[in-house]
């Protein structure tokens, strides 16, 4: 069961990488978050931890519902094109993704000496998410794509946290969720402002400050 | 004795210049002026009235005294016929060099004082030449020092062996002397062509007794150099004791060697042409080189 959720995460991540429009990207993110929720829910069920249920619930509310909704709203409001703006085209991106997968696997096998094989797999996927998120931030031009990339990284960390230590202390998790949500809101407001001042959200063109 | 030595210098120095002029003229198959002409000149100048430039200041007026005083003071430092020198305790060879440069410093200033371009030209050239003379002179002093262990002038004015070092040193000193005493090939005392003048350009504004002082100072300085060169090439000491005849012969040889130097000077002057100013660098460089060779000879001990 857990494997299915993990594969779901992987596939949705790959969908995000090949996405060329913002909407597709956010859709991919929603799916990813949803599978993440499932995975967390499963762990909670398996370990019968009430705190994990709450966290899973928060995940569902914030990442599957609220944040994508917010992002959609922003897209609607700022009326920019749907394009992501790719520095690296989708084919090449997929190649990079393969590379990241290898790196993540290699790294996790270095890291995990005591843990089980399955745990290593989860860690690898988590790290993979971090790398892909990072990659999205570097290689996608629009501001919103960067926000999504950040969220992907964050998702990866969440997965990692639940994999390696059975989750962080409860209130830390809560605080992190809150933080993530606030940061997305704030970034969203800055995306508005960028759009207002520059009439686009191609952050690559924000290069007045240099040197 | 001090006064006697001073008087000897004052009296005999112009004679050397007259002698050189006479020899030169004779070599050029000319009658030439009298050998005593410098004395006539000095006397005539002393009797004449003086014209001062209105732009000059007190520097111009005091320079002749300082120049003459420094020349004579330098002359008193060497043991001309008293050993050791009467004023030995006052200064050594190095002091002698610096005392001469005191006179030159003021003469150069005085040359600038009148405000004519001749003076400036002479002053500039004089300082140029003299500053290049310094290292060569220093090397010569150094070579002498290495042989005798002191910069005291009296120590090498006795009898000593003629070594390669002292001979080469003497040659270097001779070259320096030509430059210092405004002789061909560095300067020409006989010309008044502004492009070539050095010494003459500086004293152009002087007249009367002050000019006489300046000329006398130059004669004395020349004699000091001749004496030193002679002492290096033909070293003899004072007779310990002897009869009158012996003393007479000694005296003749003692002064005769200075005339030999004068003769060589005259020969050189006749046979060479004056150099361009910037060839002087090479000329004095050569003197410096000779100085170094003298030092090396002294180090080796030959």
């Amino acid at each position: 069961m857990q494997e299915i959720t993990l594969i779901g995460i992987l596939i949705s991540t790959c969908l995000m990488v090949v996405a060329k429009s913002l909407l597709a990207l956010i859709r991919g993110f929603r799916w990813q978050s949803f599978f993440l929720f499932l995975a967390t829910f499963l762990i909670a069920w398996k370990e019968a931890q009430p705190s994990l249920y709450i966290i899973a619930g928060l995940l569902l509310v914030i990442k599957v519902v609220l944040i994508p909704q917010l992002l959609y709203k922003i897209i609607k409001k700022i009326k920019v094109g749907q394009g992501l703006g790719l520095f690296v085209n989708t084919q090449l991106s997929l190649f990079f993704v393969l590379l990241f997968a290898y790196l993540a696997w290699d790294f996790s096998s270095q890291l995990i000496v005591y843990g089980s094989h399955a745990q290593a797999g989860i860690i690898a996927i988590a790290l993979f998410l971090v790398l892909v998120g990072f990659f999205l931030m570097v290689s996608r031009i629009t501001a919103l794509a960067q926000v999504v990339g950040l969220l992907v990284m964050e998702n990866g960390l969440f997965l990692l946290a639940s994999a390696v230590s059975g989750g962080m202390p409860f209130f830390v998790e809560i605080a992190i969720f809150f933080d993530v949500f606030v940061s997305v809101v704030i970034m969203g407001s800055f995306v508005y402002r960028i759009n207002k001042f520059f009439t686009h959200i191609d952050v690559d063109k924000l290069s007045h400050l240099r040197g | 004795m001090i006064i006697l030595q001073a008087l000897v210098f004052i009296v005999s120095a112009p004679f050397l210049s007259g002698l050189i002029t006479k020899i030169k003229n004779n070599l050029r198959m000319r009658q030439g002026e009298s050998i005593l002409q410098p004395y006539y000149n000095l006397a005539k100048l002393s009797l004449k009235s003086e014209v001062l430039s209105e732009t000059t200041s007190w520097i111009f007026k005091i320079t002749p005294y300082i120049l003459l005083a420094s020349s004579l003071a330098g002359a008193l430092l060497i043991p001309l016929f008293i050993y050791p020198a009467p004023l030995r305790g006052i200064g050594d060879f190095l002091a002698l060099i610096f005392i001469f440069s005191l006179g030159r410093f003021f003469l150069s200033l005085a040359a600038l004082d009148a405000g004519s371009s001749f003076g400036g030209m002479g002053s500039s050239r004089e300082m140029f030449i003299s500053s290049l003379v310094e290292p060569a002179l220093c090397m010569v002093v150094f070579s002498i020092f290495l042989q005798f262990g002191s910069t005291d002038i009296s120590v090498f004015c006795g009898a000593h062996q003629i070594t390669a070092a002292s001979l080469i040193g003497a040659v270097a000193l001779f070259l320096i002397c030509l430059a210092e005493c405004a002789r061909i090939p560095v300067d020409n005392q006989e010309t008044h062509l502004e492009l070539t003048m050095v010494q003459e350009a500086m004293i152009l504004e002087y007249s009367g007794m002050r000019l006489a002082f300046i000329e006398l100072a130059a004669y004395i300085k020349q004699m000091v150099f001749f004496f030193l060169i002679a002492q290096l090439i033909f070293p003899i000491s004072l007779p310990a004791k002897g009869n009158f005849i012996g003393l007479l012969f000694w005296g003749l040889w003692y002064s005769g060697r200075i005339f030999i130097v004068a003769l060589i000077t005259a020969l050189v002057e006749v046979s060479l042409a004056k150099m361009r100013l910037f060839r002087v660098v090479d000329y004095l460089g050569f003197a410096f080189l000779l100085g170094i060779i003298a030092v090396i000879c002294a180090v080796i001990g030959v």
């Binding site: 790196l103 | 003086e50 520097i59 405000g115 030209m121 290049l132 100013l277």
Partner: protein, 614 residues
Amino acid sequence: MFNLSANFIFDPLSIFFIFVILIVSSAAALYSHGYLKNAYTFPRKVFAWVLLLIFVCSMLLVVTGSNLLVFIIAWELMSLVSYFFVVFDFQYNRSIQAGMIYIVITHIGTAFLLAAFLMIYQAAHSFDFIALKDACHLLPMQTRNTIFLLLLIGFGTKAGIVPMHIWLPYAHPQAPSHISSIMSGVMIKTAIYGMIRFIFFILGITSPWWGILVLILAIISCLVGVIYALMEHDIKKLLAYHSVENIGIILLGVGLGMFFVSMNLPYLAVFALVAGLYHLINHAIFKGLLFLCAGSVCKATGTRNMEKMGGLIKRMPHTAVYFLIGAMAISALPPLNGFVSEWLTLQAFFLGALNTLGGTKVFLGICAAMLALTGGLAAACFVKAFGIIFLAQPRSQYAESAREVSWSMKAGMFILAALVIIFGLAAGSIVKLLIKVSAATLGVDGSALNLSAYNLTLNLQALMPGPVGKDSYLSLPYLAALLVILGAIFFVIYRLAKRKSLTYKTWDCGYYKVGSRNEYTATAFSKPFRIAFSFFLFPYHKTQKVRESFYHVKAFSYETHTTPVFKKYVYYPLLAWILKFARLLRRIQPGSIHLYLAYIFAVIILLIMFINKF
């Protein structure tokens, strides 16, 4: 770890330097009263006085602190305060530039010093000089060599030895003149103090090459300084270049002392150091004097350009006399003080040559000859300076309208001029005192070096154990008396002769009007030197004709310049190289956030890849 219980040292060396500092500073302070008047507003005057006070105090602290930390703090404070003086007239770009060059180069020098100090500190784990002195002897050879080089560069920068002299001709002229006189006269000497204190006293000299290196640098400084000075027509810059030269002469004595210490010739080392210290105090006095005079001239004429001066001897008679005394002293003319110290230095070279072997003799001889050349060139330079500034007719309106300066300025100059003469005539006693200073510094019993008080007689038998060499003599009072008496005699003769004397125009070759335009200029004066040293100066000239038509040239301009070798071939390329590097570096930040993120990405990937290297 910091042991800062305010420790001070008052050994003869320190006291000597306190003396030097106080002499020049007090004269300069007196002078500044008149100098600042009418030139600055009241708050700025107060500021100048306060700064002066701090400046002098910091210098005193430098020479009395017996603690590395006190030393370095005082040292930096001294640099800082003098920097404020350099930028005192901060409305001029010249000042800003000079201040920048000065403080940056000083700071670099201090960095070297700091490195050296901390290396010394590691030896003893104490900042105290005495403790360091004991500990330094245990250091390995290589470390000591490194420390020596660092110290040499560090102090050399402050002292202004070539090629670190570059700041001197900028900074010294830009400060107010009384400060120029302190900076040039005293401040750069604190670097010599540092060298003596740290290299002789604390580090201890081991290798002969230390001394030889210092000698070579000193000779280069002498020549470069004086040649540049000859080319300079800005009076204060000229003096600044002469500081480079004179620091070279001082270092000849000091370097020779180092050499003798390493050759195990303690008495000679004492003697050489005496020569160096003597020239040090002499230079402090006469350079202080010359800068004060230059300040008077600048204040009176309002320009620093010599070519615009002339004839000031009639307008400023007092200043002219003082300047002449200073000029004579710096040109090493008897019977003034500069002559004595140059004579001593030459003697030190000669005596050293007697006690060494073979090639070293020739080397020392050539050094001495170069010193003589320097002396000759310096004399030429000051003939030019005095002649062009004070003699003949005024060359411009500036000089025409010059008036003699106020009493306090005259008093300041008078004190130093009197000292120039005193330090010349009383050479015997002063050398005796200095022998005590340098013997105490080197830890040698100086009583064996006996000199009679009025008759400066070097007893060579006492100087050296071996029976080589005989006495040399020099007696300044008698020499002065001789010169005065002879001069007086001729003056009397002249007076007795009573020839008629009349005043007329300078001979003008029949030309109807000889004016100041006909006078020889400073540029013309230095032309023979410019050509003779063209291999180093690289002179070039520009001519330009302004034509009205093809046939008629309306105006003709001619400029001649020399190439500043060190600036052009050392400092500019270095600076250009650094700036080029910086500009290249600047390109890594073009404003693209994606690139920035990629940096972080790359860093993390690289670190993970090479994690085992850490």
